[in-house]
Protein backbone atom coordinates (compact mmCIF):
# COMPACT_ATOMS: atom_id res chain seq x y z
CA UNK A 1 0.00 0.00 0.00
CA UNK A 2 1.56 3.26 -1.08
CA UNK A 3 1.16 5.24 2.13
CA UNK A 4 4.47 7.01 2.09
CA UNK A 5 3.39 10.25 0.50
CA UNK A 6 5.69 13.06 -0.46
CA UNK A 7 6.00 16.26 1.53
CA UNK A 8 4.35 19.41 0.27
CA UNK A 9 6.21 22.68 0.01
CA UNK A 10 3.39 24.62 1.58
CA UNK A 11 3.99 25.95 5.08
CA UNK A 12 1.51 24.76 7.66
CA UNK A 13 -0.34 27.28 9.79
CA UNK A 14 -0.52 24.91 12.74
CA UNK A 15 1.90 22.18 13.64
CA UNK A 16 1.07 19.69 16.34
CA UNK A 17 3.79 17.29 17.39
CA UNK A 18 3.46 14.36 19.77
CA UNK A 19 0.70 15.88 21.80
CA UNK A 20 -0.36 13.68 24.69
CA UNK A 21 -2.84 14.16 27.49
CA UNK A 22 -2.79 11.62 30.26
CA UNK A 23 -5.04 11.83 33.29
CA UNK A 24 -3.54 10.22 36.33
CA UNK A 25 -0.03 9.41 37.50
CA UNK A 26 1.14 8.11 34.12
CA UNK A 27 4.02 5.72 33.67
CA UNK A 28 6.54 4.80 31.00
CA UNK A 29 4.33 2.20 29.38
CA UNK A 30 1.13 4.25 29.20
CA UNK A 31 1.46 4.99 25.51
CA UNK A 32 2.59 1.50 24.57
CA UNK A 33 -0.19 -0.27 26.38
CA UNK A 34 -3.10 1.84 25.20
CA UNK A 35 -4.55 2.71 21.84
CA UNK A 36 -6.78 1.41 19.10
CA UNK A 37 -5.00 -1.96 18.84
CA UNK A 38 -5.61 -2.51 22.53
CA UNK A 39 -9.07 -0.97 22.19
CA UNK A 40 -8.50 0.90 25.40
CA UNK A 41 -7.52 4.29 26.79
CA UNK A 42 -6.66 2.97 30.21
CA UNK A 43 -3.14 1.92 31.02
CA UNK A 44 -3.21 -1.54 32.59
CA UNK A 45 -0.10 -0.86 34.60
CA UNK A 46 -0.88 2.43 36.32
CA UNK A 47 -4.55 2.99 35.65
CA UNK A 48 -4.09 6.38 34.01
CA UNK A 49 -6.36 7.43 31.19
CA UNK A 50 -4.58 8.29 27.97
CA UNK A 51 -7.01 10.72 26.39
CA UNK A 52 -4.60 11.63 23.59
CA UNK A 53 -1.39 9.84 22.77
CA UNK A 54 1.36 11.20 20.53
CA UNK A 55 -0.87 13.12 18.18
CA UNK A 56 0.93 14.81 15.30
CA UNK A 57 -0.56 16.63 12.34
CA UNK A 58 -0.38 19.81 10.27
CA UNK A 59 -3.07 22.26 9.33
CA UNK A 60 -2.45 24.39 6.27
CA UNK A 61 -3.63 27.95 5.80
CA UNK A 62 -7.13 28.32 4.42
CA UNK A 63 -8.06 24.69 4.75
CA UNK A 64 -10.82 23.06 6.73
CA UNK A 65 -9.64 19.91 8.41
CA UNK A 66 -11.98 17.46 10.07
CA UNK A 67 -11.38 15.35 13.12
CA UNK A 68 -13.82 12.52 13.41
CA UNK A 69 -14.17 9.84 16.02
CA UNK A 70 -16.57 8.33 18.44
CA UNK A 71 -16.92 9.10 22.14
CA UNK A 72 -13.66 8.58 23.92
CA UNK A 73 -11.59 9.01 20.81
CA UNK A 74 -9.86 12.05 22.29
CA UNK A 75 -10.97 14.54 19.69
CA UNK A 76 -12.51 17.00 22.14
CA UNK A 77 -9.52 16.73 24.44
CA UNK A 78 -7.31 17.54 21.49
CA UNK A 79 -9.25 20.66 20.60
CA UNK A 80 -9.40 21.80 24.19
CA UNK A 81 -5.66 21.35 24.47
CA UNK A 82 -5.14 23.55 21.44
CA UNK A 83 -7.27 26.25 23.00
CA UNK A 84 -5.50 25.93 26.36
CA UNK A 85 -8.62 24.79 28.16
CA UNK A 86 -6.65 21.66 29.05
CA UNK A 87 -2.96 21.39 29.73
CA UNK A 88 -1.36 18.60 27.71
CA UNK A 89 1.04 16.26 29.44
CA UNK A 90 3.58 16.59 26.64
CA UNK A 91 3.97 17.68 23.08
CA UNK A 92 4.56 20.78 21.00
CA UNK A 93 2.27 23.12 19.16
CA UNK A 94 3.41 25.80 16.75
CA UNK A 95 1.38 28.54 15.08
CA UNK A 96 2.93 30.18 12.06
CA UNK A 97 1.45 33.55 12.94
CA UNK A 98 2.93 33.56 16.44
CA UNK A 99 6.62 34.31 16.65
CA UNK A 100 7.12 32.87 13.22
CA UNK A 101 6.09 29.40 14.26
CA UNK A 102 9.26 28.93 16.26
CA UNK A 103 7.83 28.98 19.77
CA UNK A 104 6.09 26.02 21.33
CA UNK A 105 2.73 27.35 22.49
CA UNK A 106 2.57 24.83 25.30
CA UNK A 107 5.66 26.26 26.94
CA UNK A 108 4.74 29.94 27.08
CA UNK A 109 3.38 31.82 30.10
CA UNK A 110 -0.35 31.89 30.75
CA UNK A 111 -0.40 35.59 29.93
CA UNK A 112 0.99 34.89 26.51
CA UNK A 113 -1.36 31.97 26.06
CA UNK A 114 -4.22 34.30 26.81
CA UNK A 115 -2.90 36.71 24.19
CA UNK A 116 -2.73 33.93 21.62
CA UNK A 117 -6.24 32.80 22.48
CA UNK A 118 -7.63 36.31 22.22
CA UNK A 119 -5.86 37.39 19.09
CA UNK A 120 -5.17 34.30 17.03
CA UNK A 121 -7.85 31.78 17.81
CA UNK A 122 -11.57 31.39 18.05
CA UNK A 123 -13.57 28.47 19.36
CA UNK A 124 -17.17 27.36 19.14
CA UNK A 125 -18.19 24.77 21.71
CA UNK A 126 -20.96 22.24 21.50
CA UNK A 127 -22.41 23.67 24.68
CA UNK A 128 -23.07 27.40 24.32
CA UNK A 129 -22.70 27.83 28.07
CA UNK A 130 -19.00 27.19 27.65
CA UNK A 131 -18.51 29.72 24.93
CA UNK A 132 -20.79 32.51 26.05
CA UNK A 133 -21.08 34.53 29.25
CA UNK A 134 -24.75 34.33 29.96
CA UNK A 135 -24.66 37.44 32.18
CA UNK A 136 -23.59 39.66 29.36
CA UNK A 137 -25.84 40.67 26.51
CA UNK A 138 -25.36 39.15 23.09
CA UNK A 139 -23.55 42.28 21.94
CA UNK A 140 -21.61 42.29 25.19
CA UNK A 141 -20.31 38.81 24.48
CA UNK A 142 -18.99 39.87 21.14
CA UNK A 143 -17.63 43.04 22.75
CA UNK A 144 -15.77 40.86 25.24
CA UNK A 145 -13.90 39.12 22.46
CA UNK A 146 -13.14 42.39 20.73
CA UNK A 147 -12.02 44.08 23.94
CA UNK A 148 -9.73 41.17 24.63
CA UNK A 149 -8.28 41.77 21.17
CA UNK A 150 -7.65 45.43 22.07
CA UNK A 151 -10.57 47.13 20.33
CA UNK A 152 -11.35 50.06 22.61
CA UNK A 153 -13.88 52.02 20.58
CA UNK A 154 -17.53 51.56 21.49
CA UNK A 155 -18.84 52.71 18.14
CA UNK A 156 -16.59 50.35 16.22
CA UNK A 157 -17.42 47.50 18.57
CA UNK A 158 -21.16 48.02 18.10
CA UNK A 159 -20.76 48.24 14.36
CA UNK A 160 -18.73 45.08 14.19
CA UNK A 161 -21.14 43.28 16.51
CA UNK A 162 -24.04 44.27 14.28
CA UNK A 163 -22.17 43.09 11.20
CA UNK A 164 -21.44 39.74 12.75
CA UNK A 165 -24.90 39.22 14.13
CA UNK A 166 -26.52 39.95 10.80
CA UNK A 167 -24.12 37.56 9.16
CA UNK A 168 -25.33 34.83 11.47
CA UNK A 169 -28.88 35.99 11.01
CA UNK A 170 -29.62 37.11 14.52
CA UNK A 171 -32.12 40.00 14.52
CA UNK A 172 -30.41 43.20 15.58
CA UNK A 173 -33.20 44.10 18.01
CA UNK A 174 -31.99 41.25 20.16
CA UNK A 175 -28.45 42.49 20.28
CA UNK A 176 -28.74 43.72 23.84
CA UNK A 177 -30.69 40.71 25.12
CA UNK A 178 -29.16 37.99 27.22
CA UNK A 179 -28.29 34.82 25.29
CA UNK A 180 -29.99 32.89 28.07
CA UNK A 181 -33.24 33.86 26.41
CA UNK A 182 -32.26 32.47 22.99
CA UNK A 183 -32.93 29.10 21.40
CA UNK A 184 -30.13 26.54 21.04
CA UNK A 185 -29.52 27.32 17.41
CA UNK A 186 -29.43 31.03 18.09
CA UNK A 187 -26.99 30.54 20.92
CA UNK A 188 -24.72 28.62 18.60
CA UNK A 189 -24.89 31.37 16.07
CA UNK A 190 -24.00 33.95 18.69
CA UNK A 191 -21.05 31.76 19.62
CA UNK A 192 -19.95 31.66 16.02
CA UNK A 193 -20.20 35.41 15.66
CA UNK A 194 -18.23 35.83 18.88
CA UNK A 195 -15.55 33.44 17.71
CA UNK A 196 -15.16 35.35 14.47
CA UNK A 197 -15.20 38.79 16.06
CA UNK A 198 -11.48 39.35 16.01
CA UNK A 199 -10.87 37.66 12.63
CA UNK A 200 -8.80 34.86 14.05
CA UNK A 201 -6.57 33.01 11.62
CA UNK A 202 -7.56 29.73 13.27
CA UNK A 203 -11.09 28.68 14.20
CA UNK A 204 -11.89 25.58 16.22
CA UNK A 205 -15.33 24.07 16.00
CA UNK A 206 -16.18 21.39 18.53
CA UNK A 207 -19.29 19.46 17.57
CA UNK A 208 -21.12 22.65 16.80
CA UNK A 209 -24.17 21.14 15.20
CA UNK A 210 -24.66 18.16 17.47
CA UNK A 211 -28.03 18.28 19.12
CA UNK A 212 -29.50 20.92 16.85
CA UNK A 213 -32.51 20.55 14.61
CA UNK A 214 -31.76 19.55 11.06
CA UNK A 215 -32.82 22.84 9.55
CA UNK A 216 -30.71 24.74 12.05
CA UNK A 217 -27.81 22.42 11.40
CA UNK A 218 -27.99 23.12 7.69
CA UNK A 219 -28.08 26.83 8.36
CA UNK A 220 -25.01 26.69 10.52
CA UNK A 221 -23.02 24.53 8.15
CA UNK A 222 -23.89 26.89 5.37
CA UNK A 223 -22.73 29.79 7.47
CA UNK A 224 -19.45 28.13 8.29
CA UNK A 225 -18.76 27.41 4.67
CA UNK A 226 -19.60 30.95 3.68
CA UNK A 227 -17.37 32.40 6.35
CA UNK A 228 -14.52 30.24 5.26
CA UNK A 229 -14.89 31.36 1.71
CA UNK A 230 -15.21 35.00 2.58
CA UNK A 231 -12.42 35.25 5.10
CA UNK A 232 -10.21 32.32 4.25
CA UNK A 233 -10.10 31.30 7.89
CA UNK A 234 -8.38 28.04 8.65
CA UNK A 235 -10.67 25.70 10.57
CA UNK A 236 -10.55 22.52 12.55
CA UNK A 237 -13.94 20.86 12.66
CA UNK A 238 -14.51 18.17 15.23
CA UNK A 239 -17.52 15.95 14.71
CA UNK A 240 -18.73 12.44 15.06
CA UNK A 241 -21.04 13.00 12.11
CA UNK A 242 -19.49 12.09 8.78
CA UNK A 243 -22.10 14.03 6.88
CA UNK A 244 -20.86 17.23 8.48
CA UNK A 245 -17.28 16.26 7.79
CA UNK A 246 -18.02 15.47 4.18
CA UNK A 247 -19.70 18.76 3.71
CA UNK A 248 -17.14 21.02 5.23
CA UNK A 249 -13.70 19.52 5.10
CA UNK A 250 -10.95 18.91 2.60
CA UNK A 251 -8.97 16.56 4.81
CA UNK A 252 -9.91 14.39 7.71
CA UNK A 253 -8.26 12.74 10.67
CA UNK A 254 -9.90 9.68 12.16
CA UNK A 255 -9.30 9.14 15.85
CA UNK A 256 -9.78 6.12 18.07
CA UNK A 257 -8.73 5.58 21.66
CA UNK A 258 -6.69 8.73 21.67
CA UNK A 259 -4.71 8.06 18.49
CA UNK A 260 -5.03 9.12 14.89
CA UNK A 261 -5.70 5.91 12.97
CA UNK A 262 -6.09 7.39 9.54
CA UNK A 263 -5.73 10.69 7.80
CA UNK A 264 -6.28 11.75 4.22
CA UNK A 265 -8.42 13.64 1.78
CA UNK A 266 -11.99 13.54 3.02
CA UNK A 267 -13.43 11.92 -0.06
CA UNK A 268 -10.69 9.33 0.05
CA UNK A 269 -11.27 8.54 3.71
CA UNK A 270 -14.94 8.13 3.02
CA UNK A 271 -14.79 6.19 -0.21
CA UNK A 272 -11.55 4.25 0.23
CA UNK A 273 -10.96 3.87 3.95
CA UNK A 274 -7.77 2.02 4.73
CA UNK A 275 -7.84 1.38 8.44
CA UNK A 276 -10.24 -1.29 9.75
CA UNK A 277 -11.79 1.17 12.19
CA UNK A 278 -12.46 3.73 9.49
CA UNK A 279 -14.03 1.04 7.39
CA UNK A 280 -16.23 0.14 10.32
CA UNK A 281 -17.32 3.75 10.75
CA UNK A 282 -18.07 4.23 7.09
CA UNK A 283 -19.97 1.00 6.91
CA UNK A 284 -22.01 2.02 9.91
CA UNK A 285 -23.27 5.21 8.33
CA UNK A 286 -26.95 5.12 7.64
Amino acid sequence: MSRDLQETEKQPLLKVRNLSKIYGSSCKSCLELTGPDMESNICPRCGSVVACGNISFNVYPGEIIGIVGESGSGKSTLIKSLYFDETPTSGEVYLQCFENGETNLLSISSQKKRWVRNHLMGIVYQNPYLGLKMDFSCGGNIAEKLLAADWYHVGKIRKRAKELLSKVEIPLERMDDLPRTFSGGMQQRVQISKALANNPPLLLLDEVTTGLDVSVQAQILDLIRQIQREFGITMIVVSHDFAVIRMLTDRTLVMKNGRVVESGLTDQVMEDPQHPYTQLLINSMI
Binding site: S2, L5, T8, D222, R225, R246, Q268
Partner: protein, 237 residues
Protein backbone atom coordinates in the same frame (compact mmCIF):
# COMPACT_ATOMS: atom_id res chain seq x y z
CA UNK B 1 1.30 17.02 -28.59
CA UNK B 2 2.94 16.50 -25.24
CA UNK B 3 1.81 14.00 -22.69
CA UNK B 4 -0.18 15.44 -19.82
CA UNK B 5 -0.91 12.21 -17.99
CA UNK B 6 0.99 8.96 -17.92
CA UNK B 7 -0.50 6.03 -16.07
CA UNK B 8 2.04 3.29 -15.41
CA UNK B 9 1.18 -0.10 -14.07
CA UNK B 10 -1.66 1.22 -11.97
CA UNK B 11 -3.22 -1.29 -9.63
CA UNK B 12 -5.86 -0.94 -6.94
CA UNK B 13 -6.80 -3.58 -4.43
CA UNK B 14 -9.46 -3.04 -1.75
CA UNK B 15 -9.00 -4.86 1.52
CA UNK B 16 -12.19 -5.41 3.48
CA UNK B 17 -10.98 -5.78 7.03
CA UNK B 18 -14.31 -6.85 8.39
CA UNK B 19 -14.86 -9.59 5.87
CA UNK B 20 -11.84 -11.56 6.83
CA UNK B 21 -9.40 -9.34 4.98
CA UNK B 22 -11.15 -10.13 1.74
CA UNK B 23 -9.46 -8.55 -1.27
CA UNK B 24 -11.31 -6.99 -4.14
CA UNK B 25 -9.41 -6.05 -7.22
CA UNK B 26 -10.38 -2.71 -8.67
CA UNK B 27 -7.90 -2.59 -11.51
CA UNK B 28 -4.55 -4.05 -12.39
CA UNK B 29 -1.54 -3.26 -14.56
CA UNK B 30 -3.26 -0.33 -16.20
CA UNK B 31 -1.06 1.52 -18.66
CA UNK B 32 -2.05 4.40 -20.87
CA UNK B 33 -1.27 8.01 -21.55
CA UNK B 34 -3.19 11.13 -22.41
CA UNK B 35 -1.86 13.90 -24.59
CA UNK B 36 -2.78 17.56 -24.28
CA UNK B 37 -6.11 18.27 -25.91
CA UNK B 38 -6.82 14.57 -26.32
CA UNK B 39 -10.00 12.81 -25.29
CA UNK B 40 -9.48 9.28 -24.05
CA UNK B 41 -12.57 7.15 -23.78
CA UNK B 42 -12.95 4.05 -21.66
CA UNK B 43 -15.73 1.53 -22.08
CA UNK B 44 -16.49 -1.78 -20.49
CA UNK B 45 -19.01 -3.72 -18.49
CA UNK B 46 -20.19 -2.52 -15.09
CA UNK B 47 -17.69 -3.43 -12.44
CA UNK B 48 -14.86 -3.74 -14.93
CA UNK B 49 -12.87 -1.10 -13.12
CA UNK B 50 -13.43 2.05 -15.17
CA UNK B 51 -14.51 4.27 -12.30
CA UNK B 52 -11.69 2.86 -10.22
CA UNK B 53 -9.12 4.13 -12.66
CA UNK B 54 -10.68 7.59 -12.74
CA UNK B 55 -10.95 7.75 -8.98
CA UNK B 56 -7.36 6.67 -8.58
CA UNK B 57 -6.30 9.53 -10.81
CA UNK B 58 -8.43 11.98 -8.81
CA UNK B 59 -7.05 10.41 -5.62
CA UNK B 60 -10.43 9.52 -4.22
CA UNK B 61 -8.92 6.06 -4.18
CA UNK B 62 -5.39 5.44 -2.99
CA UNK B 63 -3.59 3.43 -5.67
CA UNK B 64 -2.03 0.28 -4.35
CA UNK B 65 0.81 0.29 -6.85
CA UNK B 66 1.90 2.03 -9.99
CA UNK B 67 2.48 5.62 -10.91
CA UNK B 68 0.24 8.36 -12.21
CA UNK B 69 2.49 11.01 -13.68
CA UNK B 70 0.78 14.31 -14.20
CA UNK B 71 2.36 17.30 -15.89
CA UNK B 72 1.19 19.97 -13.50
CA UNK B 73 1.58 23.69 -14.13
CA UNK B 74 1.83 24.21 -10.39
CA UNK B 75 4.23 21.45 -9.45
CA UNK B 76 5.84 20.23 -12.61
CA UNK B 77 5.80 16.51 -13.26
CA UNK B 78 4.43 14.74 -10.22
CA UNK B 79 3.16 11.32 -9.30
CA UNK B 80 -0.44 11.80 -8.20
CA UNK B 81 -0.38 8.46 -6.45
CA UNK B 82 2.21 9.69 -4.00
CA UNK B 83 1.69 13.43 -3.86
CA UNK B 84 1.05 15.26 -0.63
CA UNK B 85 -2.60 15.86 0.15
CA UNK B 86 -2.19 19.62 0.07
CA UNK B 87 -0.82 19.44 -3.43
CA UNK B 88 -3.69 17.28 -4.59
CA UNK B 89 -6.11 19.81 -3.16
CA UNK B 90 -4.43 22.58 -5.13
CA UNK B 91 -4.50 20.52 -8.28
CA UNK B 92 -8.18 19.75 -7.79
CA UNK B 93 -8.94 23.42 -7.38
CA UNK B 94 -6.98 24.63 -10.35
CA UNK B 95 -6.07 21.92 -12.79
CA UNK B 96 -8.07 18.77 -12.51
CA UNK B 97 -11.82 18.30 -12.51
CA UNK B 98 -14.08 15.36 -11.90
CA UNK B 99 -17.66 14.95 -13.00
CA UNK B 100 -19.65 12.06 -11.69
CA UNK B 101 -23.22 11.15 -12.25
CA UNK B 102 -24.05 12.11 -8.69
CA UNK B 103 -24.39 15.63 -7.54
CA UNK B 104 -23.07 16.25 -4.10
CA UNK B 105 -23.53 19.76 -2.92
CA UNK B 106 -24.21 21.44 0.35
CA UNK B 107 -27.83 21.96 1.22
CA UNK B 108 -28.99 25.53 0.75
CA UNK B 109 -26.50 26.46 -1.93
CA UNK B 110 -28.29 27.76 -4.98
CA UNK B 111 -27.45 26.39 -8.42
CA UNK B 112 -25.91 29.72 -9.33
CA UNK B 113 -23.68 29.69 -6.28
CA UNK B 114 -22.64 26.10 -6.83
CA UNK B 115 -21.12 27.11 -10.13
CA UNK B 116 -19.87 30.51 -8.99
CA UNK B 117 -18.12 29.03 -5.99
CA UNK B 118 -16.18 26.70 -8.23
CA UNK B 119 -14.64 29.76 -9.81
CA UNK B 120 -14.14 31.58 -6.52
CA UNK B 121 -12.17 28.59 -5.30
CA UNK B 122 -9.64 29.51 -7.95
CA UNK B 123 -9.36 33.03 -6.65
CA UNK B 124 -11.88 34.76 -8.86
CA UNK B 125 -13.85 37.62 -7.32
CA UNK B 126 -17.53 37.35 -6.54
CA UNK B 127 -18.93 39.55 -9.30
CA UNK B 128 -16.98 38.02 -12.11
CA UNK B 129 -17.63 34.52 -10.85
CA UNK B 130 -21.38 35.09 -10.76
CA UNK B 131 -21.37 36.59 -14.22
CA UNK B 132 -19.46 33.70 -15.73
CA UNK B 133 -21.59 31.22 -13.80
CA UNK B 134 -24.70 32.67 -15.39
CA UNK B 135 -23.19 32.31 -18.83
CA UNK B 136 -22.34 28.70 -18.09
CA UNK B 137 -25.78 27.88 -16.77
CA UNK B 138 -27.36 29.45 -19.78
CA UNK B 139 -25.11 27.41 -22.02
CA UNK B 140 -26.12 24.18 -20.37
CA UNK B 141 -29.73 25.21 -20.71
CA UNK B 142 -30.50 25.34 -17.06
CA UNK B 143 -33.56 27.57 -16.92
CA UNK B 144 -33.14 30.93 -15.22
CA UNK B 145 -35.88 30.33 -12.75
CA UNK B 146 -33.82 27.48 -11.33
CA UNK B 147 -30.72 29.55 -10.77
CA UNK B 148 -31.79 30.56 -7.28
CA UNK B 149 -33.20 27.16 -6.44
CA UNK B 150 -31.56 24.42 -4.45
CA UNK B 151 -30.28 21.67 -6.77
CA UNK B 152 -31.44 18.83 -4.56
CA UNK B 153 -34.82 19.14 -6.18
CA UNK B 154 -33.53 19.05 -9.76
CA UNK B 155 -34.12 16.24 -12.19
CA UNK B 156 -31.31 13.80 -12.97
CA UNK B 157 -30.49 15.57 -16.19
CA UNK B 158 -30.47 18.99 -14.60
CA UNK B 159 -28.20 17.74 -11.83
CA UNK B 160 -25.81 16.32 -14.35
CA UNK B 161 -25.70 19.47 -16.42
CA UNK B 162 -25.06 21.42 -13.24
CA UNK B 163 -22.21 19.06 -12.42
CA UNK B 164 -20.75 19.65 -15.81
CA UNK B 165 -21.16 23.39 -15.55
CA UNK B 166 -19.41 23.36 -12.19
CA UNK B 167 -16.49 21.35 -13.46
CA UNK B 168 -16.12 22.97 -16.82
CA UNK B 169 -16.29 26.56 -15.72
CA UNK B 170 -12.85 26.08 -14.24
CA UNK B 171 -11.46 25.13 -17.64
CA UNK B 172 -9.34 22.46 -16.06
CA UNK B 173 -6.32 21.10 -17.82
CA UNK B 174 -7.49 17.58 -17.15
CA UNK B 175 -11.14 16.65 -16.86
CA UNK B 176 -12.35 13.27 -15.70
CA UNK B 177 -15.85 12.37 -16.78
CA UNK B 178 -17.68 9.46 -15.23
CA UNK B 179 -20.63 8.73 -17.49
CA UNK B 180 -21.36 12.36 -18.28
CA UNK B 181 -24.37 11.65 -20.46
CA UNK B 182 -26.01 8.95 -18.39
CA UNK B 183 -29.25 10.70 -17.59
CA UNK B 184 -29.46 13.06 -20.52
CA UNK B 185 -31.87 12.90 -23.38
CA UNK B 186 -30.57 13.28 -26.89
CA UNK B 187 -31.41 16.93 -27.07
CA UNK B 188 -29.45 17.77 -23.92
CA UNK B 189 -26.47 15.81 -25.13
CA UNK B 190 -25.86 18.31 -27.88
CA UNK B 191 -24.56 21.18 -25.75
CA UNK B 192 -22.46 18.76 -23.76
CA UNK B 193 -20.79 17.54 -26.90
CA UNK B 194 -20.21 21.10 -28.06
CA UNK B 195 -18.71 22.06 -24.77
CA UNK B 196 -16.41 19.05 -24.80
CA UNK B 197 -15.20 19.91 -28.27
CA UNK B 198 -14.68 23.50 -27.27
CA UNK B 199 -12.68 22.47 -24.24
CA UNK B 200 -10.62 20.20 -26.41
CA UNK B 201 -9.88 23.05 -28.74
CA UNK B 202 -8.69 25.21 -25.89
CA UNK B 203 -6.38 22.47 -24.72
CA UNK B 204 -8.29 20.61 -22.04
CA UNK B 205 -7.45 16.94 -21.92
CA UNK B 206 -10.18 14.53 -20.94
CA UNK B 207 -10.75 10.98 -19.88
CA UNK B 208 -14.30 9.81 -20.11
CA UNK B 209 -16.23 6.70 -19.22
CA UNK B 210 -19.16 6.06 -21.51
CA UNK B 211 -21.92 3.70 -22.24
CA UNK B 212 -23.14 5.77 -25.15
CA UNK B 213 -20.91 4.62 -28.01
CA UNK B 214 -22.50 6.98 -30.51
CA UNK B 215 -21.66 9.97 -28.41
CA UNK B 216 -18.18 8.69 -27.83
CA UNK B 217 -17.34 8.28 -31.45
CA UNK B 218 -17.75 12.01 -32.12
CA UNK B 219 -15.50 13.26 -29.38
CA UNK B 220 -13.06 10.54 -28.49
CA UNK B 221 -9.57 10.36 -29.96
CA UNK B 222 -8.32 7.17 -28.39
CA UNK B 223 -10.43 4.46 -26.84
CA UNK B 224 -9.73 1.74 -24.37
CA UNK B 225 -11.82 -0.92 -22.89
CA UNK B 226 -11.68 -2.52 -19.47
CA UNK B 227 -12.42 -6.04 -18.50
CA UNK B 228 -11.98 -7.50 -15.05
CA UNK B 229 -9.58 -4.76 -14.09
CA UNK B 230 -7.40 -4.92 -17.18
CA UNK B 231 -7.23 -2.15 -19.73
CA UNK B 232 -6.61 -2.62 -23.41
CA UNK B 233 -7.15 -0.69 -26.60
CA UNK B 234 -10.34 -0.82 -28.52
CA UNK B 235 -14.01 -0.30 -27.94
CA UNK B 236 -16.42 -2.78 -26.50
CA UNK B 237 -20.03 -1.91 -25.90
Amino acid sequence: MSVILQVENLGKVFIMHHFNQKKIIGCRSVNFSVHEGEFVGITGKSGAGKSTVLKCIYRTYLPTNGRILFQSKLFGKIDLARSAEQDIISIRHHEMGYVSQFLNVLPRVTALNVVAEALMEMGCDNERAVFQAKTMLRYFQIPENLWDAYPNTFSGGEKLRLNLARAMIKRPRLLLLDEPTASLDNQSKGPVKEMILELKRSGTSMIGIFHDIEFMKDVVDTSYTMNQGYLKEGIVA
